[in-house]
């Protein structure tokens, strides 16, 4: 079986990665989208495998936040990639591979869900409890007795927001997509509506956090975390 660069792709997507300098010897991680895309168009297996390794799991996870059906979430991943390969001679220029993959993934998944009557025509989610997030509590755990309270609070953040707001926050914080890209992926008519929703989501989230400012914000300073 083919195991191309799995460690490396975990590495590049790790948001905890410290320091800015790319490490010599790990330089494929800096392969630009443009070059990878050219590779796919030229029919290079390496480029294709690289993109699959970088994104297949991420797309799958994205799908499982929208539908309960894990097999379907996987099938759509394959659909998106197989379509890309079958059209490789007609592919145009793109700015971001991630943007391309996420847009087509979401579109295809929703189309199937609607066709199978899993969701109504004007709905975007089969699951309503997807895209949940928390503020990682590990580093409090070692030093404070408040762990249980903090955990509860942190789960509350995600419970309070509507799923659409949680999705936009996920794309923005975890995938680091721009307003413009998010607008394209989530099917907003323009950049401004994407930004408005994101602002609303961030304000709501901050509001919840603010109520518990004492726990969240003061502790780290006392503990010299920052």
């Amino acid at each position: 079986m083919l195991r191309l660069n799995t460690q490396f792709s975990d590495n590049i997507d790790d948001p905890n990665r410290e320091g800015g300098l790319p490490i010599v010897g790990n330089s494929v991680s800096t392969l630009t989208d443009e070059l990878l895309w050219e590779g796919v168009k030229m029919g290079e297996d390496e480029a294709l495998a690289e993109i699959y390794t970088r994104f297949a799991n991420k797309l799958f996870n994205y799908g499982t936040q929208i539908t309960h059906d894990r097999d379907l979430a996987y099938d759509i991943v394959q659909d998106v990639f197989l379509y890309m390969v079958s059209k490789k001679n007609q592919l145009g220029e793109i700015k971001s591979i991630k943007n391309y993959l996420y847009s087509s993934y979401r579109r295809k998944l929703l189309r199937v869900l609607k066709r199978n009557r899993k969701i109504k025509l004007n709905e975007d989610y089969e699951r309503l409890d997807g895209f949940k997030m928390e503020v990682e509590a590990e580093f409090y755990a070692l030093t404070t007795p408040l762990t249980v309270d903090v955990k509860k609070l942190l789960h509350k953040i995600s419970n309070d927001l509507p799923i659409r707001q949680r999705e936009i926050i996920s794309l923005y914080f975890f995938e680091q997509l721009s307003y413009k890209e998010i607008a394209g992926i989530m099917g907003f008519s323009n950049l401004r509506s994407a930004r408005n929703l994101l602002y609303k989501a961030i304000n709501n989230m901050s509001e919840v956090l603010k109520k518990h400012e004492d726990i969240l914000f003061l502790l780290p300073i006392l503990l010299n975390m920052v």
Binding site: M1, L2, R3, G19, G20, L21, P22, V24, G25, N26, S27, V28, T30, L31, L35, E38, G39, M42, G43, E44, D45, E46, A47, A49, N57, F60, N61, T64, Q65, Y74, V77, Q78, F81, L82, V85, S86, K88, N89, M133, E134, V135, E136, F139, H155, S158, S170, Y172, F173, F174, Q176, Y179, L198, Y199, I202, N203, S206, L209, I221, M225, V226
Partner: protein, 350 residues
Amino acid sequence: MEFEPKNESDFLKNTFFIKWVSAPNDHSNRYWEKWCRNNPDKMKMFNNARLIAKNLKPVEENRIDEERFYKGLDQLILANHKSDEVKSSRHYAADKPGIFTWGRSIAASILLLGMMMVVYSIWFDKPKDVMLSMSIPIINKEAPKGIKKTVLLPDGSKVVLNSGSSISYPETFGDTRQIDLKGQAFFDVERDTARPFIVKSGELETRVLGTSFDIKAYEEQNMLHVAVVTGKVKVTTGNGIESHITPEEAVFYNRKTNALSKDFYDYELLVGWKEKILKFQDAKYEEVFEQLSNWYDVTFIIEKDVKLEGDYTGRFEDQSLKNVLMGMEYSAGIKFEIQGHKILVKSKVK
């Protein structure tokens, strides 16, 4: 447009801030350091926002189970080859089902490609090249100092010339696609298995079928390199040393010692120039000035009392010369004075 946050949310709405928290680089580090120095009253807010952005995590991270993942990848590679067969009549061993998965057969086909290249290098030798150069007009393209240039070759391959570089090639290609390079260029070669693509640059000859790679071979510089981005490349030196390199790898040739060494490389350091990224890692100041003078078409004049000791490390993306020099002044014990195309290098302490 100054960034003036009123609360934590304003930080979180700033895309540049979010990118910095999750994937900082030299540039953004410098920016936020400076921002903090200028806004000491907003430090609490800044730290809070950073904490939230850093520790916010998805609750679920579902992954495809491993077996399915590799099955999916194999399926994809298979489809990739299937749509190839229409264009070329290459045959792959895995037409027989079972035994090998497609993943393995890639390795086999890469090996095959390597062997084909060796065969080419034996069969298609010098005589034909000589005949070629006699009958077909030669084209010269040059990128002067301060300018980068993209050249499209007769076979559809793309060459990006770095400043102060030139290439020459026949108007139409024969059995081989032969290019002469002085200076530095990035090649994106159209795949043509029947006609190897050969670049001669100083002591190095680089031979490929269809890949993308970077070659640096300035006449006045001691170090040459060939760095591969995609595909497979064979490099031969004037004294007959041969090396095969694959993505992530580069060969470095030292003119003083005639030595060829292979190593992994830092993409931005070697190929970043193509995306307007200037990067120095523990570079000698002489090298930095040499590169800057080529890049911006200026001459550096170093004053007598200036001692250029130590190394310089820095990264600039699409910056003006003035900004680059300012960045260097910040971290090195020197200052610059710009006089048209001349840059005076002065000592900071007077």
